[in-house]
């Protein structure tokens, strides 16, 4: 087993990995940027190393510094978390060269799956159904226009090197093609340093179903059932669950078998996720394979009782999978809400600032994976994910009730979060009935929640806030009479979008 693992990430996922290391008796080493001096992962690790200034290319994406640090401090493995170097085959190759174990797949499978077009080719050759479209990148606007016409509008333009919803655009007609083509290329180049893009048929109102898989060095492949991640905004997931309320036992057998096929086809090692789109008839299409631990892995942990990070570490050390397929059963239901620093009611605009007050929910069936705390800074340099709230219960309905309860306990002061928005979704009758798809948060939904402002709970909350503010004003005018208090520095005002 490893002696010391360098955790090449930040935020909640760095904290998540550090916790498993601690339980396994492996020393953990964190890296932090200027902006993360007060973040949780910096405090929790056995050792913490300053890696550079706030911009990611100076710190968490500084390959040379991180590899040199790993060698200097005697780390024998690197856990990449998700994002940053998790799916960077070049970084993995450097680790392999320097005899540092990369806790994840080989550079070869990452490179293969990192090219969405290569992945589509491989899947099609291994009888895994793919979304209709191209398996080559689009060279020019004219070339793209022609293909889009053949596939039929609407189509999606996607970055070949993409993921996480970045570098992806829907095109409804040929009129929109040129500007979308340029914008997608621009975004792809910035986000992935590669501006290859391809075309996929736009599947109408699908659900996003994905399967967690694992492979070890001894040729064993297993799946850990499906997750549903249909609740998305800006093509990014915000609520995930396991199992899916839409997938029946027969569909489950088919889709998990396809996922294991996909893993075997590329000799996959370690944890991975095979993502599918599923239409209303429960027909499914391969979307992409994520060669890393997913943000939403906790819902799988909750229903299987496994620790995915420990399993990752053990497999990377050369051990066999600690379980067989037949050992696994789905136990109950789990939901995850991603707590983002963003203004859901203003086009999901990210917010940034200092966390002035923080306290998170607890109690039966509640798990919080948070990367921040009182005094932590949410900066514009990284993703605005603050925390993940996971609730487990024996049924989906009771897990939803628990999620609502837990969301109400959450206090994050100082910046705008999506907590009240998440509450509205989770309590929505269609969400409760499992009647939704990836377009659930469309314009109609956003309009309908603006009318919700008149609902009873909001009115009650407004009422209490009104009383509170009146008392505050009264108190402060009394204080002003007593002394010449200068006004406290206002930290919130600057975050206002006027």
């Amino acid at each position: 087993m490893f002696k010391k693992i360098l955790v090449a990430n930040r935020g909640e996922i760095a904290v998540r990995v550090i916790r498993s290391c601690r339980e396994l008796g492996i020393k953990s080493a964190a890296i932090y940027s200027e902006a993360d001096k007060t973040s949780l992962h910096t405090r929790l690790a056995d050792e913490s190393y300053y890696i550079g200034s706030a911009p990611a290319h100076d710190s968490y994406l500084n390959k040379e510094k991180i590899l040199k640090l790993a060698l200097d401090i005697g780390a024998d493995a690197i856990h990449p978390g998700y994002g940053f170097f998790a799916e960077n085959s070049e970084f993995i190759r450097e680790c392999e060269k320097n005899k540092i174990t990369f806790i994840g797949p080989s550079s070869k499978s990452v490179a293969l799956m990192g090219s969405k077009t290569e992945a589509r080719k491989l899947m099609a050759n291994n009888k895994v159904p793919i979304v209709p479209g191209t398996t080559e990148s689009i060279k020019s606007v004219n070339n793209g226009l022609k293909i889009a016409q053949e596939v039929g509008y609407p189509v999606l333009l996607k970055a070949s090197a993409g993921g996480g919803g970045k570098g992806m655009r829907r095109i409804n007609s040929s009129k929109e093609f040129e500007s979308a083509f340029e914008a997608t290329k621009r975004e792809a180049l910035k986000a992935f340093a590669n501006d290859d893009i391809y075309i996929e048929k736009f599947i109408l109102n699908p659900r996003h179903i994905e399967v967690q898989i694992f492979g070890d060095k001894h040729g064993n492949y297993v799946h850990l059932f499906e997750r549903e991640c249909s609740i998305q905004r800006r093509h990014q997931k915000i609520i995930e669950e396991a199992p899916s309320s839409f997938v029946d036992e027969i569909t489950r057998q088919k889709i998990t078998a396809a996922a294991v096929n996909a893993a075997r086809a590329c000799n996959y090692l370690n944890a991975g996720t095979v993502e599918f789109l599923m239409d209303a008839d429960k027909k499914f299409y391969f979307l992409e394979m994520n060669t890393r631990l997913q943000v939403e892995h906790p819902v799988t942990e909750m229903i299987t009782g496994l620790d995915l990070v420990k399993e990752q570490i053990s497999i990377a050390a050369g051990n066999k999978l600690s379980f067989n397929q037949n050992d696994l059963k789905i136990n109950g239901h789990a939901l995850e809400c991603r707590i983002y620093a963003e203004d859901s009611f203003n086009n999901f605009l990210p917010s940034a600032g200092l966390i002035l007050s923080y306290s998170h929910p607890s109690g039966p069936g509640v798990r919080v994976d948070s990367g921040f705390d009182n005094g932590s800074q949410i900066t514009v340099h990284y993703d605005p994910l603050i925390s993940k709230l996971v609730c487990w219960s024996d049924t989906r309905q009771s897990a939803i009730d628990r999620m609502l309860r837990a969301l109400s306990e959450y206090i994050i002061g100082g910046l705008i979060t999506n907590i009240s928005f998440l509450k509205i979704i989770v309590d929505n009758p269609s969400f409760r009935n499992g009647n939704f798809n990836i377009n659930f948060l469309n314009d109609d939904f956003m309009k309908s929640i603006n009318e919700l402002e008149n609902n009873k709970e909001i009115q009650e909350i407004e009422k209490i806030s009104a009383i509170f503010a009146a008392i505050l004003k009264s108190n402060s005018s009394v204080n002003n009479l007593r002394s010449n208090h200068t006004e406290t520095v206002n930290l919130w005002q600057e975050q206002l979008y006027e």
Binding site: K166, S351, L356, G413, S420, E453, I464, S474, T488
Partner: protein, 167 residues
């Protein structure tokens, strides 16, 4: 002096603080106690219920209040201030409407979709600002004419800088 009008979104409420930790809220009587916890956190006890609130003062009349995940801009005026405000508001109705749109976060101006003098509808995209690795659409918060554009494509902006104004 202890008679307040509180505005949240489009609602207005009357709060009258009495002696002995009692208050009238829309003519209904409550017992209250406000307990400061630390910097910006408070417990508010209303009759038998305790609430945990976070607040930040913006100026003597405006606060940001967080309760149960809901985040409000709250304006509190004394009854007298409210009267004066209403008078001003009525006389301002005929006045020219002008609005500055500021950068909500530091970033890079990727694209400017409108020109000075062009008409915009509320919600129409005016500027694309790149920040947090995303392209963010900055939309007109009101309909009108673009009076001024103070940035150019490719320039980096700090938070709070005025980008354009609508009149």
């Amino acid at each position: 002096m202890n008679d307040f009008v509180v505005s949240i979104n489009s609602s207005k409420w009357n709060v009258k603080l009495l002696s002995n930790n009692e208050l009238l809220f829309n003519e209904k009587k409550y017992n209250y106690e406000l307990i400061p916890v630390c910097n910006n956190s408070y417990f508010l006890k209303l009759n038998s219920e305790v609430f945990e609130l976070t607040s930040e003062k913006i100026n003597s009349d405006e606060f940001k209040v967080l309760l149960k995940g809901n985040y409000f801009d709250v304006t509190v005026r004394t009854a007298l201030q409210e009267k004066a405000f209403k008078l001003l508001e009525n006389s301002a109705v005929t006045k020219h409407h002008h609005m500055d749109i500021k950068a909500p976060m530091p970033g890079l101006i990727l694209k400017i979709r409108k020109k000075v003098g062009e008409k915009v509808e509320q919600g129409e995209s005016v500027i694309i600002l790149e920040a947090m690795k995303m392209e963010n659409d900055l939309k007109a918060s009101a309909s009108g004419i673009i009076e001024n554009i103070l940035v150019s494509e490719g320039s980096a902006v700090e938070k709070g800088v005025i980008l354009f104004s609508i009149g």
